[in-house]
């Protein structure tokens, strides 16, 4: 296998996606706190390096399954920000007519096949996307995201086994946001939720490769995700990748404040530092990217706010996929 390395343009592309996610979440969180938009969603702040490094290897029709912290996954996969924002605000112009909210967004167009309000529940369905890819044999792969808390769910354990038994083209991505203390993010817990440091060691129990990496280093994410995705795409089966991340904002937006000691683990700070030293990112480029991304987000908010509410009849439609 050829070595997976980033050229300068690709570096800047990843930087831009991470800025987009961060700008999007912080802008919407502020507006939400001020009561200006009704959006409410689980934050991905501090984890941007993972979705960005992973999705850089995905094509439009590859599928992802997400969590209740979906915005970063969706944006990295290329979802339309206008419709995303409209959906988060419950508007008729959202991807799902305002019926999904943040927890259940589906956009088949970009292969975003489900955020999920039940911890770990998108993972068994991801095995189905991968099964479709295997049967159709058209080279598509599936990426299935979950957290270290979700990793304890039976459905995930079962799916790791099933994916190995069926040799499915899928990559499991565990974003471990409790890298130091084994606790559930944003919740006080007296007992640990895990007694192992690395969730990835579970891969051995299901007969697939597994490894643990720094999720705050997008270069590292890009490299190992690329290997796992290539492996899946070439029919060699599933991989479990674990990325340690420092989640800055807690479980639901605004519940926890950023922790100063987490700052060295900010994937954007880490990348900026690298790119400045290597003279890939200049001050004016950085400012330009940040401004452009802010404008994109502001446009999306404007679109959402000026969009109509869903018709009251929509409460009854789509139960079986058509008029009820």
């Amino acid at each position: 296998m050829s070595k997976i390395v980033l050229d300068n343009d690709k570096f800047l592309e990843l930087y831009r996606v991470m800025i987009r996610i961060r700008t999007y979440e912080t802008t919407l969180r502020t507006l939400s706190r001020e009561g200006k938009i009704p959006a409410r969603f689980g934050m991905y702040t501090g984890q941007e390096g993972v979705a960005t490094g992973v999705s850089a290897h995905l094509k439009k029709d590859d599928q992802i399954g997400s969590t209740h912290r979906p915005v970063g996954h969706l944006i990295a996969k290329g979802i339309n920000l206008d419709k995303l924002t409209a959906e988060l605000c419950g508007k008729a112009t959202g991807f799902n007519k305002g019926k999904a909210g943040s927890y259940h967004i589906f956009d088949p167009e970009t292969g975003c096949l489900g955020a999920n309000g039940i911890v770990g529940a998108s993972v068994p369905m991801c095995a189905g996307y991968a099964l479709r890819n295997q049967i159709k044999n058209d080279g598509r792969v599936t990426v299935s995201y979950f957290g270290e808390g979700g990793s304890n769910q039976g459905g995930i354990q079962e799916t790791l086994n099933l994916a190995a038994c069926w040799n499915l083209p899928i990559v499991f991505i565990c974003e471990n946001s409790s890298p130091v203390v084994q606790r559930m993010l944003g919740h006080e817990m007296d007992y640990p939720q895990l007694t192992i440091d690395n969730v990835s060691i579970r891969a051995a129990g299901y007969g697939m490769p597994g490894s643990t990496h720094d999720g705050w280093d997008v270069e590292e994410v890009y490299r190992v995700a690329g290997e796992a995705i290539n492996r899946a795409r070439s029919g060699k089966g599933p991989t479990l990748l674990e990325f340690k991340v420092h989640q800055f904002e807690g479980n639901l937006e605004g519940r926890l404040e950023a922790n100063e000691k987490d700052k060295p683990f900010c994937p954007i700070d880490v990348l900026e530092h690298k790119l400045r030293i290597r003279q890939i990112l200049k001050k004016d480029t950085e400012e330009k990217i940040r401004l452009e991304e802010l404008e994109l987000v502001q446009k999306a908010v404007k679109f959402a706010l000026s969009s109509p509410e869903p018709d009251i009849k929509e409460a009854y439609t789509d139960v079986f996929g058509g008029a009820f």
Binding site: K99, F106, L113, A121, M125, Y129, I135, L162, G321
Partner: protein, 324 residues
Amino acid sequence: MPERIITMSEALNEAMFNEMKKNSDIILLGENVSSSFRGPTKGLKDAFGRERVRDAPISETSFIGAGIGAAITGLRPIVELMLVDFGLVAMDQILNQMGKTTYMSGGAVKIPITLRAVIGAGTSSGATHSESLYSLFAHMPGIKVVLPSTPYDAKGLLTSSIRENCPKVFLEHRLLYNVKGNVPKEEYTIPLGVANTCNEGNDVTIVASGLMLHESLKAAEKIKNKVSVEVIDPRTIYPLDEETILKSLQKTGRLIVVDEDYRYCGFSAEIAALAAEKAFKQLKGPIYRLATPNTPFPFNPRLERELLPNAEKIEKLIQKVIGE
């Protein structure tokens, strides 16, 4: 057309064979579905290969979830549950994901899955191998619930189920697999939501499904010189053909519901509520329900018989209803 007598098991096999032959997007998943010993799926692996007729490990959450995911991405999976009771370990995937995703996605995704499950008491199999549970599935949104009683209906209803673009739970009573009946060789469908009046009568209406239809018909036959009994098989628990039942009540004014599922909050209560709401003025007396009490099934055959409705109990109830 000459009669062609086959078993329900063969009729189900024929429906799956015909549909799978025509449409390569139809796959079959489940425990031991490749086995040559089991009636409904016999020969399908040989005909369509191990890719499409795929054995799964004993992990219902993962393979039902995989079926849902495969359906979301365009396949038309038939997923087999060896017994409906085993579906209880996978309720999140069935009720939350399978039943709600089309609605939550605002119709952006369709889930053409047929979840086949074996049901039924009467074989001394104990509390976790004997249930019917159709009331439970019918209670939840987004799932059609199908329950054939004859080989003819089995073939027509399964063909319709496989072709419909929404989630279906398709229930097969274990004591009806070897029941024989006339089944045309050619393809045909029976729409979901159309009841069948199996016996015409004027004095009392019985609504009964699955094995209970056969018990009700036996009772009606036995008492036919004294009482004229109309027996209706809803064929689908949801959607329900209300019209056929209400029309019958206009004629008879008396209603008995015979139900193998648990009585409390069950299908029998739903039919009784229908009559009370929409046929109150036609009713000549109270509505009677003969259903399994809210008791787990015992292993002991005598104790099990005590709980279940049967022809003898139905006949006694008819006499009581007519005597009032």
